[in-house]
């Protein structure tokens, strides 16, 4: 599969996508629709994004029952405590155009597991979790997760007993979700920093559960880019 999609070797040909991207961006700047500086500022904003604030929100909720209550009741307000302002965020000062400002924090229990999808699109809580992974955007994940959640979770390495209810939350243009997993055993007495380290992006989407000693997503094949963007 990966082989099939590789560009033919030896031929150094620019792709139509690369050409069109440059053309659209330059025309928009020439026509005064936005400035090169606007584009640069947005790129710099993108560089600040990642799963860390959401991981910190979970760690805080594990340590502080009052904060957990706030997180579940008002995810946007709780986000402020980890430095994410959904409403007045940079660079627009009115939030991002595509993410709006309704974050729901889904609390797992030992008998209830949440997992997030966006069946219609690829809606994702970017301001607090960064860009979505490629697999989250695939029609395959979006097709199957809502009908066969246990099977899909098992493919991600998460085997859930029958007595654990699975709840799939379907994102939309206005509502975004992160999962607040159950704090795992073996983390007693840990600091917020230590706890945040084991809350990976996959845990926050809901396809993994935090484990002491695991500070990265499960390893998966990485499809290389022809002309990779370096973050």
């Amino acid at each position: 599969m990966a082989e099939k999609h590789k560009p033919a070797p030896m031929v150094e040909e620019v792709s139509e996508f690369e050409v069109l991207e440059i053309a659209v961006r330059e025309l928009a700047i020439e026509k005064g629709l936005f400035t090169a500086e606007d584009h640069q500022r947005w790129t710099e904003y993108m560089h600040t994004l990642g799963p860390l604030p959401a991981a910190r929100l979970v760690a805080k909720a594990w340590l502080d029952p009052e904060f957990k209550k706030l997180a579940v009741e008002d995810g946007v307000k709780a986000s402020l405590e980890v430095g994410i302002d959904w409403v007045n965020s940079m660079p627009t000062q009115f939030g991002t155009p595509s993410d709006y400002c309704n974050l729901r924090v889904l609390e797992d229990t030992p008998k209830l597991k949440h997992v997030v999808v966006c069946t219609l699109c690829s809606c994702y809580p970017r301001p607090i979790l960064g860009q979505s992974p490629e697999w989250y955007r695939t029609p395959n994940y979006r097709r199957r997760l809502v009908r066969w959640p246990r099977q899909v979770l098992a493919e991600f390495g998460l085997q859930l007993p029958d007595d654990v209810e699975v709840r799939v939350e379907d994102s939309n243009q206005k509502s975004r979700f992160i999962v607040l997993p159950v704090r795992p055993e073996g983390t007693e007495g840990w600091s917020e920093d230590q706890l945040a380290e084991i809350v990976t992006r996959d845990c926050l989407i809901g396809v993994a559960m935090p484990k002491p000693g695991q500070t990265a997503n499960d390893p998966r094949p990485v499809r290389p880019a022809v002309n990779p963007y370096h973050h």
Binding site: F17, I22, E26, K31, L120, R143, V146, R220
Partner: protein
């Protein structure tokens, strides 16, 4: 899901699955009495409405981002920041208006990019000629 709803959903998916091959049937522009409500619903299904459709397991992959993919995302957001479109309009255009073939056939950000080009033309910020001239000019830089 109740069994009757399940039956209806599965039947809907069964018809949707057949739409593309039906190009080979004598179904082009049927008379009103030749199309039942189930087929009407299948034909008016949005191409992005894939939740619940059957599919086979695939290998879950991470992916490196292309430079053009990053720039396309930023361009689309900045166009919204500066009022050229909003996110609802962007989504409708890149998820629905592109049609089934491009929706399933192009890369994720390929749809974003095509849609960004089309919004500039549709809202008359640029002409098609300006776009094609610019594309030619950019391509020459790589020759």
């Amino acid at each position: 899901m109740s069994s009757s709803v399940r039956y209806k959903v599965m039947k809907h998916l069964e018809i949707v699955k057949q739409l593309q091959p039906s190009l080979h049937y004598e179904t082009h522009a049927p008379a009103p009495d030749q199309i039942d409500n189930e087929h009407y619903r299948a034909y008016t299904r949005m191409s992005h409405d894939v939740g619940g459709e059957p599919d086979v397991p695939i290998t879950w992959e991470e992916k490196e981002e292309e430079v053009w993919e990053h720039n396309t995302f930023v361009t689309c957001e900045v166009l919204a920041w500066r009022g050229v479109w909003n996110a609802e309009e962007r989504r409708r255009r890149q998820n629905v208006d592109v049609g089934q073939t491009q929706y399933l056939g192009l890369p994720y950000y390929g749809r974003w990019l095509l849609t960004a080009a089309r919004i500039l033309v549709d809202k008359q910020y640029i002409t098609v000629t300006e776009l094609s001239d610019k594309i030619d000019e950019v391509r020459k830089r790589y020759e």
